[in-house]
Amino acid sequence: MSTTEIVDMITVVIDGFEVSVPKGTLIIRAAEQLGIQIPRFCDHPLLDPVGACRQCLVDIEINGHAFAKPQASCTIPVEPGMIVKTQLTSVVADKAQKGVMELLLINHPLDCPVCDKGGECPLQNQAMSNGQGQTRFEGTKRTFEKPVNISSQVLLDRERCILCARCTRFSDQIASDPFITLNERGALQQVGIYEKVPFKSYFSGNSVQICPVGALTGASYRFRARPFDLVSTPSACEHCASGCDMRTDVRRGKTLRRLAGDDPTVNEEWNCDKGRWAFKYITAIDRLTHPLVRNDAGVLVEASWPEALAAAAKGLKENTSAVLVGGRATYEDAYGYSKFARVALGTNDIDFRSRLSSDEEREFLAAHVVGSSTTYRDIDRADHVLLVGFEPEEESPIVFLRLNKQFRKRALKVTAVASKLSIGVDKLKGEFVKVAPGQEAAAIAKAALTSQSIILVGERASESAGALTAIAALADSTGAKIAWIPRRAGERGALEAGAIGNLLPGGRPVADAAARVDIAALWGTSTLPSSNGRSSDEIIAAVHSGDIAALLVGGVDPLDGNNSAAALAALERAFVVCLEIAPSEVTMRANVVLPVAAITEKSGSFLNWEGRARSFDAAVDESLNRSDLRILSMIAQEMGAALNLGTVRAAAKEIASLGPWDGARVSMKAVSAAKAPALKADQFILNSWRRLLDLGTLQKGEENLAGTARQTIAVISPSRAQVMGVTDGDLLKISTAQGSVTLAALVEDIHDDAVWAPRNSRGSQLLVNLGVGHGAVVTVVKL
């Protein structure tokens, strides 16, 4: 709470104790301040009060005037002069609560021993603490056919449901996904879906988490464990840059489930289904267990650690080397790569952007993003949010939830400069500024923002020449804040760590002598390379031109880039040292492969899009795997360079000792937009992004989750569809010189020049299949 906000405090008496709380506080929460727990079911602090379960009844008196009946404490805000008596001091409230509890239990099955919720069930707990020992019900219980699969991932046991409507209210009020609703009436009322439309919400797991009984369960966890067998560790989500606080539950070294943690400043109490349910990749994939070294015959063979480290050090030392590190590295690991490049390899040739990127972006990041501090709180206060190259629901789901919260609470204005109206922007009732792919810059320039506005920039903005230039100009002229929201969890940290060719750690420009002095002093080196390093595209080109002969590669998928063929060829050509958790396109081509710890096996932190540290401990402590950082230190040592980053803590300490950079920032060279291409009748400009649930590596092994992914389709506009004689469901073939994909058509609101398809979904892996990204001209024919 900022100091400028003045909050009216109200003092009330609860069970004889005075408590002062901000105006508007509900009685049930005022009581919590005193440590008085009023039993409840339908109440949830982040949902609108409904007062449906009637479990939280208390006696109330205001200025001597007593309510005739007990009142639901979850729906009534405190008022001056209020005296509240809970079950602790009022016989009436106590009887009322016991009576409601008895009524809740008459139709509830006695299946706690086989119910997943057993042991952590609010109904079970409150029945113990606030219920009667004996039931007086001798009649027939309500029964339902059980269970119902409301999606491939969520099951519903209706007879356990106590109809608190938390799940349906969450889906409606928070996610704007009213796929589950209350149906029927009275004693037959039940939660359900419309039979033909499953609960395909990206946020369905939150409904499971907030169900106060075992009525909603996740298919992946159902019947797997009892809560008392689990060891819980606070963790942070590695899937995207939202930065969710999480809890990881492990039994005997194996992660069994993950839950959303409670961080009011970031994810509140929510997360997305990917964060919750995609964790088996660590075990689903074939983990690397031993170092591998390519022998004289050209075959990768197992080697001992000393052998492998020596081979790696030799190859990197004897050649001109560069570093490619993926966007999923932790902040500390990224810092390790950054320091390794400068200290051990003496180069600024390092880039964390193992994806489509541009030089315009690199300057934009250095000029406007590194060290910046736009936050979720700023979204809460913004008057207008502009989205560029960014689909919040698909690419940073918690940002979507926050936008949606503000939209529902105060009709926050959202504008999207995009080619296609997305499901998420539609839910936000956002203004859709429709542009042809590649023509974003002009539309951005026209946006009417103020100094209270925010521009949310996705990593895809780099795919449209001039867009970032236009954003920078817009922010300059209006005072609007910029927030850059990459997809991957590690990118912001890598940027801050200087894992990029134009910046040293802490946003210090490579080209700035004072900045280099800072870092050299910190690292105890005499000199640092002084010219900007190469970008990832340039590094690959340099391998082909022979200027670079060795690569250190960590957590990179070469198929994610602009020109995967060139990337693969470069890996064939160079001496490659690869740090990886599993065999990949890179390890296949590497000379030395060093296995590293997966995320659950190490501690560290990510910086989310806000730049906020999200640290976590190792959830699985039996692992023998070492972090990238530790291995980089060992290679450096072998090379005769001192990294001195043996542990995550050492790295974190070193990073912390580096103050903020207050010198000049890198300035951006203006880039102008490309000219719109002339299109033939069967030509379109490609527009695409990755969906939240797709073929991403970290979703491997999650069939139940994959079942809730959105359908793979190709979207064209109604007018183009009419010309082509296309209706929904017809097959469209999208092709380039490199290849083609064939997808079912969906006719929707999209720019006439554009065709949209998901970038990495089943049947549509565009970077591989077509070899192009956003803005390329493709041919589309109806089959």
């Binding site: 009213p178 609703t181 009436r185 419309y194 039979e195």
Partner: protein, 208 residues
């Protein structure tokens, strides 16, 4: 079943009655019943599309109300009031008699699709108890025999007219259209009031 352009235009005019489109769910559901006889998936999906809602939101509403049927009812849907007053005054006997006579259980439909049977709650006609409704038209002061005669007349294709209602009994689908707010031009038909409605007025005119 495909909806004709005229149907779609009617549905559009129903939506336009309201300041906010979602309010049209209920009349649209009545309208679907007027076309299909009950609320089917196609109807739910169509309404969802017209109102830009999720189908789940429409079915959540449809399943709340007892007048929306999930499966076909008869051409003449007969409701026998068995709420306390009518039950006591003979509704129970009438309902039992009709079940036996038609060979149906509650919510059953005769094989010929002519008649379906349901026991209903108080229909705001207690001064005419026991009351039977057919396609939501009043049949006042019924006996077991008169009710049997009524359903017989329905099965023979020539249903007796309501006591207080249109001159002839319209079909279930036709009545559903009326409930969707479509004027069938029969408002002037039938009595303006039944005897019990006028009783107080009559007595008062006699000077009391």
């Amino acid at each position: 079943m495909a909806y004709s352009n005229e149907d779609l235009a009617t549905m559009d005019s129903i939506i336009k009655r309201y300041p906010r489109s979602r309010s049209a769910i209920m009349p649209l559901l009545h309208f679907v019943q007027s076309r299909v006889g009950f609320v089917n998936g196609e109807g739910i999906e169509l309404i969802a599309k017209l109102l830009t809602l999720e189908a789940a939101e429409v079915s959540a509403v449809a399943t709340f109300y007892t007048q929306y049927k999930r499966s076909p009812v008869g051409e003449y849907h007969v409701g026998v009031c068995t709420n306390t007053l009518c039950a006591v005054m003979g509704g129970d006997a009438i309902f039992a008699g009709l079940k036996e006579h038609l060979g149906l259980e509650n919510d059953g439909v005769t094989a010929d699709g002519k008649v379906s049977l349901e026991h209903i709650e108080c229909n705001a006609a207690c001064d005419y108890a026991p009351v039977v409704m057919a396609n939501w038209e009043f049949y006042d002061n019924q006996t077991v025999q008169s009710a049997k005669d009524l359903v017989d007349s329905m099965q023979s294709g020539n249903p007796k007219p309501p006591t207080r209602g249109a001159n002839t009994l319209v079909t279930w689908k036709e009545a559903s259209a009326v409930l969707a707010g479509i004027n069938d031009g029969k408002a002037h038909e039938g009595v303006q009031a039944g005897g019990p409605t006028l009783l107080g007025l009559k007595i008062s005119k006699e000077g009391k």
